[in-house]
């Protein structure tokens, strides 16, 4: 019974953010009150710099994605991945399948920055305005979180510049872990959804 109850706990961004802010501010009030404002402004400056950088990155990626779309390649890609996406996300809308296909492919290539605009677009298309995340949305977050990339290029680059004798020898373990956690995530989301549907069905009776 406690198992089913734990699923009804909603992780609400409002509560989460409030807890982070309040707890750290209370500690800082005792430890170092003068840091509160300067640290916040510093962080938001960092966010602004990050967004500026992201804007430049998105220009390149959104430009190429438009080419992929206009040339009909995205339709081909979606067709190729459709059976898989249909099974994993339970999405029938072809336009949404196409966006998800682009998001997943970008992740696999290790270009998370190209995946983000597609992820946002997919979420907007999947939104049912109920205020709650639905099955496909949760699946998309979990799959993006397990980072299904085939080549961890950034990490290999950092290792090479740190003087590794064989910087690429982490590819195989990374691949094994990524595939395992992605499959685990898919199974978990599917089974939780099944349990939730069962509980819902019972409530209706």
């Amino acid at each position: 019974m406690s198992f089913s109850a734990s699923f009804s706990i909603n992780i609400n961004m409002n509560i989460f953010w409030l807890l982070m802010m309040l707890s750290s501010m209370l500690v800082l009030l005792i430890v170092n009150p003068s840091e509160v404002l300067s640290e916040m402004i510093g962080a938001s400056t960092e966010a602004l710099e990050l967004c500026l950088e992201l804007c430049a990155v998105y220009v390149v990626w959104l430009g190429f994605i438009e080419l992929i779309d206009a040339s009909g390649l995205s339709n081909k890609l979606a067709k190729l991945l459709r059976p898989l996406i249909k099974k994993i996300f339970k999405v029938d809308n072809e336009e949404i399948q196409k966006i998800i296909a682009l998001n997943v492919s970008a992740n696999m290539l290790g270009v998370g920055n190209a995946a983000t605009p597609m992820g946002i677009k997919a979420m907007q298309a999947l939104d049912d305005k109920s205020g709650k995340a639905n099955f496909a949305m949760i699946m998309l977050v979990v799959i993006n979180a397990t980072s299904i990339q085939l080549l961890p290029t950034t990490v290999i680059g950092l290792r090479a510049s740190a003087g590794s004798a064989n910087p690429a020898d982490i590819i195989l373990p990374t691949l094994i872990v990524t595939i395992t956690t992605t499959i685990l995530g898919i199974i978990l989301v599917h089974s939780i959804e099944k349990i939730r549907l069962k509980i819902k069905g019972r409530k209706k009776k």
């Binding site: 967004c51 290539l109 020898d169 990524t178």
Partner: protein, 168 residues
């Protein structure tokens, strides 16, 4: 080797566009136009999460959590030296990459700890950042079980990464 993949894909894409008789310049500009609006839309969300994370770090709560969690990490087979990296990874991309560089410099790029850190970084994501940004343009405020499941997968991945680095 990996440096060739993206340029080759770009060239193939442009060649395919030529074959399909598509005005590459017009379409590239059309796509690029969306970048500024997208960044303006997500900026407040990114800033808010970064402010919360910065306060959490400067208040010392993360260090304190690291100390509490390190015996648990040890039990799970995760080197305690990587505690902070594992803890911060779901929140900040730039912060965790800075920690990774630190680990590489301190323990040597080919040490067990550094290899673990690399695999952990390669197969995980900034979960809270992804969730915030992805949901930012929707009406969704209740993420249900999305984050718990994502975090659980991340922990399993971390344990598996440390195990694999021992034998591979």
């Amino acid at each position: 080797m990996s440096a060739y993949i993206l340029p080759i894909l770009f060239i193939l894409l442009i060649l395919y566009c030529i074959y399909k008789r598509i005005n590459t310049y017009d379409h590239f500009v059309k796509g690029a136009k969306g970048a500024i609006k997208l960044v303006v839309d997500i900026f407040p969300f990114i800033a808010s999460i970064m402010i919360a994370v910065a306060l959490l770090r400067v208040s010392g709560i993360t260090t304190w959590l690291t100390q509490i969690l390190s015996p648990i990490f040890n039990f799970l087979g995760i080197p305690p030296e990587l505690c902070e990296l594992v803890l911060l990874r779901p929140f900040t991309g730039s912060g965790s990459y800075a920690l990774l560089e630190n680990v590489l410099a301190t323990y040597g790029a080919d040490s067990y700890i550094a290899r673990c850190a690399c695999v952990i970084m390669g197969c995980s994501e900034t979960i809270f950042y992804v969730a915030t940004v992805y949901f930012s343009q929707t009406k969704v405020r209740k993420l249900l079980y999305a984050i718990p499941v994502a975090l659980l997968c991340s922990i399993v991945g971390t344990i598996l990464a440390c195990l694999l680095c021992k034998i591979m």
